[in-house]
Every structure is written in C-alpha cells, then in structure tokens.
Symmetry: C2
Subunit: 348 residues, 2 copies
C-alpha cells in the first residue's frame, strides 16, 4: 500500500507498512521496542502512517530479516546485524564486536561519529537503510557447569555461542555450538553442552540455566554492548513523504533509548532473583580476559587483511573507541567506581 511520493497532495497520507522481527513475545525486552516504535509512528501521524508488526516466524524466519527487507517482502524489520556474520563479518560493527564500544559510545559513534554513514554504505547494496533501534548494554559472559579458573578450563568446552565470539572462542579451545534457544536447557541438562551465553539477567532468567549451570560469568567481553537495528527497504523509505521519513528517524531514536532504559531498570532485580535461585556470580579470570583480547585483535587483523570494507569500518570504529575509552575512565569511570564502593561500604 505504498504510493510514490509525488502523488501526495496532503502532507499526512494514509500509508500501511509491514514489519517483521527476529524476536517475539518470548524475549519481550527486545520485541517490545519494535512495538513501541510502531506505536510512536502511529500516534505522531494521527494514525495515518501505520506499521503492522509480525513476531519471529509469522511471515519471515528469525534470520531472514535482511533478505525480506532487501527484497521488500516487508517494508521494514527489527533484527541485530551480527546474525548476518556469515554473509559478511563487517555487519558485526552494527551490533557488537569483541572489546568494542559500550552502549553510550556506540550511540555516539553511530550518530556523532561516522558509524551511521559507514554502516549505511555497507547496507546500501542490499537495498537496506539501517537505523539504530536500541541496545542491551553490556551482556553477561554466560552460564558454565564448571568453574573457569584459567584459559586451560576453556579447552574442549562445548559452548552455545555464535558468530564473531564463536570464532574467537574456538581459537582459545572452546567448541562453539549453534543451538536454538528452546534446545539449550535440555542440552545443558544432558551434559551435551557445558556452557551457554545468551544475553543478561532479564532474558537469561526465563530459561532457567542456573539450575544446571550455576556459574554466571561477567563481563560478556564479546558484547560490551549490543545494538539492535531497524532495517528499512530503501525504495519504501524514499517513497515516504519527508515528514514520515523524519518520523522514522526520531521514533527509532526514541524507542531505542527506551530499550536500554528498560534493561537498566530490570536487570538488577532479575540478577538478585537469579542469585537467590542458586546462580554463583564470577568474574572471568584476568588471563581469560587477556587471551580473549589478544585472540580478538588477531581476528580483527585477519579480517581486515582480506576484506577492505571490514578494514575501513574497523579502523574508524576502533579509532573512536581508543579516543573515548580513556575519557570515560576519567569522569564516568571514577564516579561510578567511587559510588559503587561507597554504597557497598555503607551496607556493611
């Protein structure tokens, strides 16, 4: 029901779009953001621009969002670009890479740095215009049946993980497994899986991992933040009146902010409940972090050597990171660290 732009005499024409998602009601923290986005568009256009949202699988499979939007099966979709690592690892820069930007830094790179420009260049040949649509914040490092005391304990570990992180972990001895969420719990229970990384307390809690893999490690160094994306078909976007194009941009920013705010508000209580249910919280040992950092940097170099677009985005992204991280340690980091300690001491 999309009509070419010149037809519009009035400025608020009736337009109906379809939106598909990689997520559904079983991961509400992610899926709700797409619902919020559609609601914002609908309300601000007085119901004239409406987007009907379909959960994962209803019209498009979970990892089919990129193709479905590219070929205009649907006008737009919600997904995370690192699921398309197999097509091109460069897509990971639109979501997360190991030891990458935290949520605020990512937002800043996308809109105030070159992030949006560079990732749009990457998406253009696929007829997709990408917009940030939220972030989970720093994820957890996953659930383990046994304690990880050093890098040696990673040898032969059968772990549910994928993409970039899977590749890095495999170089440290882990055997990555691709397993759909519904099959993870039984695999852990049977012992055919030793570990699993999913998201963080809010999403992990629903799956009950703490009953069979009680060690809950942090931080998820492969997802210092994970950005979720809105994909819009390029022709569909261009055929919108300018006011609706603008609405897509501001609603994606507004709904995206809401996702992070919601994770931040709900993770603390979810973590407390998990600990109450038996989860044992552990920091990754320093040698695991160091080995992961080293292996990640080696992989970045390999991809950069053989993929010019990867190198172009990588260099810009890492330049931004290397500039922002030292500043974040000064004011933000010293403030957060002091307050964390002061409140912990007050409790004693």
């Amino acid at each position: 029901a999309v009509v070419a732009a010149p037809v519009f005499a009035q400025s608020n024409p009736k337009i109906s779009w379809k939106m598909t998602s990689t997520y559904g009601p079983s991961t509400p923290a992610l899926y709700n953001t797409a619902q919020t986005f559609c609601k914002m568009i609908e309300e601000a256009s007085d119901g004239n621009f409406s987007i009907r949202l379909y959960p994962v699988g209803e019209i498009v499979p979970g990892f089919g969002v990129m193709d479905a939007v590219g070929n205009r099966t649907v006008e737009c979709g919600q997904t995370a670009s690192y699921y398309y690592y197999g097509k091109d690892p460069s897509f990971c820069f639109d979501t997360a890479v190991p030891f990458g930007l935290n949520a605020r830094q990512m937002y800043s790179w996308m809109y105030e740095g070159d992030g949006l420009k560079l990732t749009r260049e990457l998406f253009a040949p696929r007829h997709i215009v990408n917009f940030p649509l939220g972030n989970t914040g720093t994820q957890m490092g996953g659930w383990y049946r046994k304690e990880i005391k050093s890098v040696a304990d990673l040898q032969g570990l059968k772990m549910r993980t994928a993409g970039f992180a899977g590749e890095v972990l495999s170089r440290m001895g882990v055997v990555p497994q691709q397993i759909p969420p519904g099959d993870i719990y039984p695999s852990l229970e049977k012992g055919t899986l030793d570990a699993v990384e999913f998201v963080g307390p809010v999403d992990d809690e629903k799956l009950g991992f703490q009953k069979v893999a009680k060690y809950y490690y942090y931080p998820g160094w492969w997802e210092g933040s994970a950005q979720v994306s809105l994909y819009v078909n390029d022709e569909a976007l261009n055929s919108l009146p300018k006011s609706y194009q603008s609405l897509v941009e501001i609603a994606s920013r507004a709904a995206g902010g809401q996702m992070l705010g919601s994770y931040d508000a709900n993770n603390p209580a979810a973590l407390r409940r998990l600990i109450g249910a038996g989860a044992v919280l552990k920091a990754f040992p320093r040698d695991v972090m160091d080995a992961s950092f080293k292996a990640s940097n080696e992989l970045f170099k390999e991809f950069s050597d053989k993929n010019a677009m990867f190198k172009k985005i990588h260099d810009n992204y890492m330049g931004f990171r290397d500039s922002l991280v030292p500043w974040f340690r000064v004011a933000e980091g010293s403030y957060d660290n002091y307050l964390g300690i002061a409140l912990a001491n007050q409790k004693k």
Copy 2:
C-alpha cells in the same frame, strides 16, 4: 496562536509556539539540543507545528524559564531544574544531586522508574509539564589554582559553584560564590576566586581556565550526570492535538539522546587540547570524596526532615540508585575497567 483542541477538523493544524532557553550560542552543546528538538518537530509535522527558539536573555532571563513557562509568556522552555534550588531543593532531582544517578541510570529512572511521575507531581502546581531533554554525562570537579591534597585544602577556598553542591561544599569549609560565566576568568586571574566548577572539557575549554587554575579535578561528584529539561506549559500542551503531544514526547527523547552522544563524542578531544594547553588532570583524594559523600547524606537527611515532597522523591531516587549501582559494577563496570586498562597497556 494556540487554539483549543476541539476546533481541529484536520489532524495537522498550523500551530506556532515560542521556546525560551537558559542557554545560548556560547554553550552550543546545550543550546543545539533545543534547536534539534524544534527542527524535529517542524520536520515531522511537515512544517505545521513550528516552535521558534529564543536564546537566553532575548525575551526571558536565564533563570526565568520556570516562571515564563508557568505563566505562559512562552509555551515551552529549555533549562535545568537545579537552577531553581532556591524555590525548592526538590527540583534538583530533575537534574542532579550529589552522588546521584549517572546518565543511563537517570534516563532509566525517569522513564522506566518513577522519575517522570514524581517530578511531574512536583511541577504540576507551577503549570509545567517536564520532559527530559538530554544529559551532559558525568561532569568534571572543576579548576583549582592550588593542588587539593586533602579536605584541609578546601578550608576557605573561594569557589564558583551554586545550589546543592555549594551547600555541601560550604559544610566542608569552601566559600561558594555565585558568579556569571563572563566574570569567572578575571576573578580567577585577580585571585579573588581560587576555584571554579563549570561543566566538562567541551564547555570549559571555551573559557580558558587552564591558564590561571591549572589543576583540573575529577569526578564532579555533585553531577554524576546532569539532566537538561524541557518545560511545557500545561494548558498549551493539553490544547495540542494528540499527535502533536506525542511528537513533543518522542522529539524530546530523540533530541535528548543526541545531547549525550555529542558530549561523549567531543569531550575526549577537548580534554586532550586542554592538557596540551597546560591543564593538570587530578583525581580528588579519597578523603575529599568520603567527606563529600558524608556531608551530602547529612544534607539529604535535613531536607527530608523538613520537606515531605523532597523526602518522597529522595527515597524513590536513592532506592533506584542503590538497586542499579551494584548491577552496573558487574557487567558494565568490569567491562569498562578491563578495556580501559587493556588499551592503556597496549599503548605502552
């Protein structure tokens, strides 16, 4: 030019508003956000809802925004609520209080916690509906002519600061001074002022403090983050069609995100230039932080004892803080700290 709601036959009526600001072109990082907000509204309404922005002093003085919006001299305004500390210290919870929420936590409290509900209750008798309109992130602790080695060095220190922070600092021996930005530099030069706190690298750089007060301290514990606000006159807001009301909300969220992203992107280079120009970066000594934390808590208690609304907001805000801070230390904090150290080591 605002007409009562029932008159609208069409859904995108022509409406023109005036907006005043506490800021102006001399603090672009803050003022630009108001410009962005107006531009978003204008574009998304196809020019039908336009808001004309006036910089500080043009029609309303800097700290007159609350009254001007309340009595509908203008329909809306950009300001920071802690400037109205003198009317009621409770307003500070809409901006910053010592040892309060960082930027992400503040956003989360406002929208996902009870922040918006409670602050709107506070503003309602003044005929104002408040919306968050950005955040500066953690501010710096200011510029000092002499090193601060312990709490003793704060005795008799003439420091430009105000509001809540001024009250806490005065209990630690500081003599707070209220001085307009233009007079700060000459006062420091003449020695009638020993120290000044303003914002952070981006805004401080323009004023040249490093030439006369080279010690640049962090963190600004009185502003772990500072939220900027949009005030809208209640009747003006209620007379808008629902679609424009919705637009005000999503544009304030979107423009607000842009402010923080811009500070995050530009502070690192500003700090490097300041250091290049002679600034000496220093962390506040632990005993200064501890004494500040203690004095702040005493002041919170005093205000809570005599102001029921202060107590109501305080207890909710601090409950949210005490729940979120330990979680932020786990994934976010451990990730940020590791990456900061790893990158610093890599440089060596």
